[in-house]
């Protein structure tokens, strides 16, 4: 297959939803694999919390959203940012600390943002964006009826007070927000049942009167379907928030590019079923091989180009240090 560089940078025409899913899944996986590969070179001077293994959540949810819908994430948001359409080059440049980064090199991997694509930021302090997403949903309901907001957070965030406070307010005011708990069973090294007296996260959400659904197998189609149902209800008006718990598994260490099964806080055998159910591989099997080549080839070129862009981009101007503190 040979394409000229012009073509290489416009995404392939895809005819089925499965192909679209695969493009998004594969692209995220490849971006993060590339980050992990580059990492030892120390070009990425930033902590990276990889989503490898968890891509199905971001993709399944975001494929059910409109461009004008808005998402809020966590420090582990590469996948979310890309799935929602965030600019890849700006993201890579941000990780490299360059002026062309999505936050001009001031935010790093943990604070990705792409306002036009509806990625409204991410926080390094667990739980904080949940309340921000709720506030955004309040504004949306007042100013842009029909717009949907999605708040992504981990299983650890559920323990923070702000989570309960936010769910209560969202439910009380029946805001158009979907809460998506990406439950990978761990907060860093600590299993959920060592932190939560009652680890049934859907039950917890229901106590606020919020309908909640669990997808326990990381199936991107099921996640997508659940999201579509939720979004339909949210868009139509006053139904109040929805909640989806997606059980999923983090393949790499909490932060950084490596595996960590040698640390003994979890076993490789616990991970095996998740490796087997990998959304990227599973989805790949459903795609026509030619289309698959086109998709993967496109992604490889796009990512290579983005990395080259990041590398060749200028450092921020020194006087940027004191800009953007106030308007």
């Amino acid at each position: 297959m040979s394409v000229n560089s012009e073509q290489a940078l416009s995404p392939p025409n895809l005819s089925t939803p499965g192909e679209r899913f695969y493009l998004s899944l594969y692209r995220i996986r490849h971006v993060e694999n590339e980050i992990a590969r580059i990492y030892p070179s120390d070009k990425v001077k930033s902590p990276v919390h990889l989503s490898i293994g968890q891509e199905a959540v971001s993709v399944g949810v975001c494929e059910a959203l409109e461009p004008e819908d808005t998402v809020f994430g966590t420090y582990r948001s590469h996948a979310l940012y890309l799935a929602k359409g965030g600019d890849l080059r700006a993201m890579m440049a941000e990780l490299f600390g360059k002026a062309t980064g999505c936050a001009k090199g001031k935010g790093g991997s943990m604070h990705l943002i792409d306002v036009p694509r509806g990625v409204m930021g991410a926080s390094a302090v667990v739980g904080t964006t949940i309340a921000n997403a709720v506030g955004y949903a309040y504004a949306a309901r007042l100013q842009r009826p029909g717009q949907v907001v999605v708040s992504f957070f981990g299983d650890g965030a559920v323990e923070e007070g702000v989570y309960s406070e936010s769910l209560n307010f969202a439910a009380l005011r029946r805001l158009p927000i979907l809460f998506v708990c990406e439950n990978n069973f761990y907060s860093i090294f600590t299993r959920q049942d060592r932190r939560q007296a009652q680890p049934d996260i859907c039950e917890n959400a229901k106590r606020f009167g919020i309908p909640a659904e669990r997808i326990d197998d990381g199936d991107v189609g099921r996640i997508h379907d659940a999201t579509r149902r939720a979004v339909r209800s949210l868009r139509s008006g006053d139904g109040g928030p929805r909640f989806i718990e997606c059980q999923i598994y983090r393949w790499k260490e909490h932060v950084g590019p490596n595996e960590d099964f040698d640390l003994d806080y979890r076993s490789r055998s616990e991970a095996e079923p998740w490796f087997d159910a990998d959304a990227v591989t599973t989805m790949a099997e459903t795609i026509d091989p030619d289309v698959r080549d086109t998709i993967e080839g496109y992604v490889h070129r796009e990512v290579a180009e983005a990395i080259a862009f990041a590398e060749s981009s200028p450092l921020p101007d020194p006087d940027e240090l004191l800009k953007d503190v106030f308007g």
Partner: protein, 351 residues
């Protein structure tokens, strides 16, 4: 300062500013515990729920942390929230959103977003408010880049600074003192703003510079009267905005008087008074000896017993005494007799 013949209270000034901005800009919303209740935040939100409806003016759950996050998120979403707290002490529950999110969003997202929210909070005093209902903690907000801080003293500034804060595209911490609420003063009816980063010389004098913050501005005015008895002419300055802080105006005064006494509504250690003294010393301390002094809360928790509480705070007489010592260059031990007309109006409930 604009001319006006109309007199209004500090409470009415806040209410009117809010009302005018809400009618001018439908993105302005107002929320916080009690904004629509019968007390209406000492009257400062009276009638606004009826006028602008429950979507734009609303009571909230007791959830200071999340509701501050909601204010940030609503700002990102295009609104301009005013979030009200009847005690500044309660902001300690909201510090994560204020310090880690509101102050930083513009910068850490490379200028792509801004957070045009206003946080109103009140400092309590007297009548047994005690440990947890009396603190003036704005130095925390001055410390962190990305937040503006304003602490108006007069009804005039109360209105102009609030309008400015609402129109400002960055988060503004708007600090009120409960005793100031009853103050009366000239307040123009039509909307106007009081520019950030400009202090006001409220009384001229050549002998000593008194900088009084928020309620302590009034106490400094009174202290200046006591000082007259000793032939001392105090220059009194109201910084109004604590961040950005107008150091130049203070320095111009201290360059003249050589003496500076900063009187604050908070503790002195790392407080606003430390900042002002340090900034002045840094700028002109090498040129000449400077007599500087900070007054603020006693270095203790605020007690409830009135007999103890009285000495927890600076008052016009202790301020005058400290300033006189600066002028004399030694501890003179003078404490003026109390004069009834210079006594503070006691704050009494409703709580």
């Amino acid at each position: 300062m604009r001319e006006t013949r109309r007199t209004a209270s500090y409470v009415e000034a806040i209410r009117e500013a809010t009302d005018q901005e809400m009618s001018r800009d439908e993105r302005v919303i107002l929320f916080g515990l009690g904004v629509d209740d019968p007390m209406a935040i000492q009257g400062t939100t009276r009638g606004l729920a009826e006028r602008y409806g429950p979507d734009r003016v609303f009571d909230t759950p007791l959830s200071e942390d999340a509701m501050t996050g909601v204010a940030v998120g609503a700002s990102l979403g295009g609104l301009r929230p005013i979030h009200v707290h009847i005690r500044m002490d309660f902001l300690m529950l909201a510090m994560n959103q204020l310090i880690n999110v509101a102050a930083k969003s513009r910068y850490m997202y490379g200028g792509q977003v801004h957070v045009p929210m206003v946080v109103r909070s009140m400092i309590g005093k007297s009548w047994g408010q005690g440990a947890q209902h009396s603190q003036g903690l704005y130095s925390f907000f001055m410390n962190v880049p990305g937040l503006k801080v304003v602490a108006p003293t007069t009804p005039y500034d109360a209105k102009g600074c609030l309008i400015e804060a609402i129109r400002d595209d960055d988060p503004v911490m708007y600090v009120e003192h409960r005793i100031l609420h009853a103050q009366q003063g000239p307040v123009p009816e039509s909307p106007y703003t009081v520019t950030p980063g400009r202090a006001r010389v409220t009384r001229e004098g050549a002998d000593v510079t008194l900088v009084g913050i928020s309620f302590m501005q009034l106490e400094c005015q009174r202290a200046a009267h006591y000082l007259e008895d000793k032939g001392v002419q105090a220059e009194v300055i109201d910084p109004i905005w604590l961040s950005p802080l107008d150091v130049d105006t203070i320095i111009a005064s201290v360059a003249k008087t050589g003496r500076l006494c900063v009187v604050d509504n908070g503790w002195t250690t790392c407080g606003a008074s430390a900042e002002i003294v340090a900034a002045v010393s840094e700028r002109i301390g090498a040129q000449r000896p400077l007599s500087v002094r900070r007054l603020g809360f006693a270095p203790s928790t605020c007690p409830t017993a009135p007999s103890l509480e009285a000495s927890f705070y600076p008052n016009p007489r202790t301020i005058a005494a400290a300033a006189y010592d600066l002028v004399e260059g030694t501890e003179v031990g003078w404490l003026p007799e109390e004069r009834a007309e210079l006594t503070d109006v006691e704050f009494k409930g409703p709580f």
